[in-house]
Symmetry: C2
Subunit: 500 residues, 2 copies
């Protein structure tokens, strides 16, 4: 490869690059899921933080990213105790612990909204963009790697730019990005995407090369968790979802060719594996925020139409496949900013079928995606709000119980509401499906209890509903506040929601 002059002239060590990071810095980093995040400079920043602290000097930074990132970024900075604040989503064990101890402030944000709200000036401006790239040209064209995230806006907004130039990713990625920043009101126009593969922007992000303070060379690969075979419960949930979709198609309520959005994790993988294997499914279009190995299953079954995403999070095995057949995949994949992959306008226009995991669901059709016991942050809302609210059809999935049955994920009242009765349409557990469209709260409750709850908890939930219909302030939503969190309270006191 012929390296550009800038790649050579601005080459420096991670420690040298970390020196550009001052106390109070607002860092906008690349990375969406463990894909495309900076992998060596963050450790150097954490080390600088420790040295500064030892010298008695304050050293804290704010970190904005795309979404969750790899341990080399979120884990390193969290363990280095340098994170004052973090937005808009995370899923790292070390960072989660900092958030829940109160050491790191966390503002949990719809993924489609952070970039525009930064441009509007609603939050502290990004001072440093820290972005992984697979190429930088002398005139300031930055080519992103395995995710796009919020990098275009961070690169545009920052006072200074630090690049991690990653040599381990294929150069063909250059052709797979579609960078596009909408104009802001009052000058905004439509986002001119009408099918998943439409290209509206440019393959690179243009920056002022003067702003690039340093380029750190690396060859560290993204390290997504290896694929785990779905368990029985996950398989059953997936079967229920696919049964429902086929039923809707048969009823004429699901036009052919609507794109799918699918969250991450084993339930999502189980659903997509059905798309790859079940008879009668073809021509699958994905318009999603992150794509995992399921991409290959659908492709190998010759059922993949196109995949628009903000990140590619492949296992080591997946990455090998990706590199091997990249000439094919570059015609099948588009990497978009999360402001576009998750844009309400596009989700509603294209008619997405949205499938996301829930922590808990309540009998009246509200969903908790984020906070255990209304308090403890698990990961964050991510794109689930963007997708759920605007989808053609919105599905939330979870097992009916957790912790060997000690927790019912179907409860009278969720302890934190991320998606509410006005937006939630289809709920699924391994027990069955509850189609809540157009139902009153009481009719929702009856269906959720009989179709979704684990048999061990059905009697309790039915009794709660009956009690409410007698004693609640209203029979519209027959909640009795003094009893609404009984199951959770019992869990806190005894370690189980079960009676006796």
């Amino acid at each position: 490869m012929n390296y550009s002059q800038i790649l050579q002239q601005k080459k420096m060590s991670a420690d040298e690059a970390a020196n550009f990071i001052k106390n109070g810095e607002i860092i906008g980093a690349s990375g969406f899921t463990p894909a495309g995040h900076p992998k060596v400079v963050p450790t150097a920043i954490a080390q600088k933080g420790e040295l500064e602290r030892e010298a008695g000097r304050e050293f804290k930074v704010t970190l904005y990213t795309g979404a969750s990132t790899g341990d080399e970024l979120d884990g390193a900075l969290a363990r280095g105790k340098v994170l004052k604040k973090r937005m808009p989503y995370q899923s790292n064990a070390s960072l989660r612990s900092e958030i829940n101890s109160g050491a790191t402030e966390y503002a949990d944000y719809h993924l489609s909204q952070l970039a525009q709200n930064l441009r509007y000036g609603f939050m502290d401006k990004v001072t440093t963009a820290l972005v992984e790239a697979c190429d930088v040209t002398d005139d300031g064209k930055v080519y992103l790697t395995m995710s796009n995230g919020n990098s275009p806006t961070y690169l545009q907004m920052a006072d200074q730019i630090i690049i991690e130039y990653n040599q381990s990713v294929p150069q063909e990625l250059k052709e797979m990005h579609d960078n596009y920043i909408p104009l802001d009101p009052p000058h905004r126009r439509e986002i001119p995407i009408y099918s998943a593969g439409d290209r509206i922007g440019s393959p690179y992000v243009q920056v002022d090369p003067q702003k690039i303070k340093g380029i750190v060379w690396t060859d560290k690969k993204d390290a997504a968790a290896p694929f785990r075979e779905p368990g029985e419960v996950e398989k059953k949930i997936a079967e229920n979802v696919v049964d429902f979709l086929l039923h809707e198609e048969k009823k004429g309520r699901l036009p052919k060719g609507l794109p799918y959005q699918s969250g991450v994790g084993n339930i999502a993988n189980a659903v997509l594996s059905q798309f790859a294997t079940l008879p009668g499914i073809s021509n699958v279009t994905l318009f999603t925020e992150v794509m995992q190995d399921a991409f290959f299953w659908i492709h190998e079954a010759d059922r993949l139409n196109f995949c628009s995403t903000s990140a590619l999070t492949f296992s080591a095995e997946g990455n090998e496949k990706f590199v091997k057949d990249i000439e094919i995949f570059k015609k099948k994949i588009m990497l978009r900013p999360q402001e576009i992959s998750n844009h309400p306008e596009l989700i509603r226009r294209l008619g997405l079928i949205s499938m996301n995991a829930a922590l808990e669901m309540d009998i009246f059709g509200n969903v908790n995606s984020t906070n255990v016991l209304g308090s403890k942050m698990m990961n964050g809302i991510g794109g689930s709000g963007d997708f759920c609210r605007n989808a053609y059809l919105s599905i939330f999935m979870c097992p009916s119980t957790s912790k060997g049955g000690a927790i019912s994920n179907i409860v009278p009242m969720v302890t934190h509401v991320d998606h509410n009765e006005h937006s939630v349409e289809i709920l699924v557990t391994e027990q069955g499906i509850a189609d809540l469209r157009g139902l009153s709260p009481v009719n929702k409750a009856k269906k959720v209890i009989s179709n979704l709850a684990h048999p061990d908890y059905r009697d309790y939930l039915s009794e709660y509903l009956s009690y409410g219909l007698e004693h609640a302030p209203s029979r519209h939503i027959p909640h009795v506040l003094g009893r609404a969190f009984e199951l959770h309270q019992r869990f806190i006191e005894t370690g189980s929601m079960k009676l006796s």
Copy 2:
């Protein structure tokens, strides 16, 4: 006036028209706020229901509308006990009572979503459209009156159509409607509106004249409540809102010319009256779902640019002004389907400043707009979810207390979540403003308590927060479930949230 043949040939009495309504009918009616709803046929339907019941026959119907309507529709059918189900919004005392007793099923729905979800086949199909019109042509052009609502979709979808031909409204209304039904996925394109006054559809709704079963002539006027002078608390809230907006403009975070959306009621009126009187405000654009008399104040102050809305709900005095200067107003007003007035794509593109009332707010930034004590339906979510989620800036307002101080509207945890921490940005009471953008939950709580809560409740709320920081499962959102509804419980038991 020259009446079309169809107006004369299909003319019939309300009783005759009501005979087309059978048990189990799904009625899609015009009407959005007490504006443009059918005013004589519903009473006849209610009477038919009573006769049927007396004859021992079941007679129940489902009613879809635009939003709330007048007492002649919702009140008449509710008191007639003929409503099995009602969507998507209401604000009528008789109907509210039926909903809360459990006699009428109520599905509380985002106003932008009902029409498309009916077209998708997600709910029971409209069998009869019952629509107020100011003209019908022999080839089936129906001209709507003071609201647009969901009428275009109902007229298109219904098997049979009943028209209330209202002679009391000005014929110039014909030029003020812009009827437009988007294509459905996978064929949907952008909604091509780029400023509030853009016309994209037609002034009439085209129907098959064969489907028109009857036309009932009436001259009943819409009867909006007379304007009430805002009280001291409402004025103070309005001043706080306007102070905040001017502050944002000064900080360069509020571009000139962004359109305003404003809910109904006295707080909204108080805010808009400031727009009409405060120095330094000009060229006000409204992109909203309902316009009240405030329209005239802004117009008379020569500050009105344009008003796009789905309904005109004027007082008797306002109506006189409207008719008198209609040649001017028809260039200043566009009446749109609520699917368009409340469309996420347009709200986000145009950059709306959204201002809506709340029932209660919690310290962590969640808003209850609908259900008292998590149970009793007040009105419904209406458009507040459409606007809040996609607005440039989203403001919720309420007095810090109700019932002479016995209720704090600032609570530890709202009992029903219509808008959550991920979407709610600015909260306002007469005590002050809390700008929550980008804050962690704990920092939100500190600000809400000190800026918004009534002094009588600040100590309690601070103590709850401190207690949570010691005892909650996490310091991210330091909720203690056993205490979260303490204030509400005290109110249920003693009639006041106050200690002693």
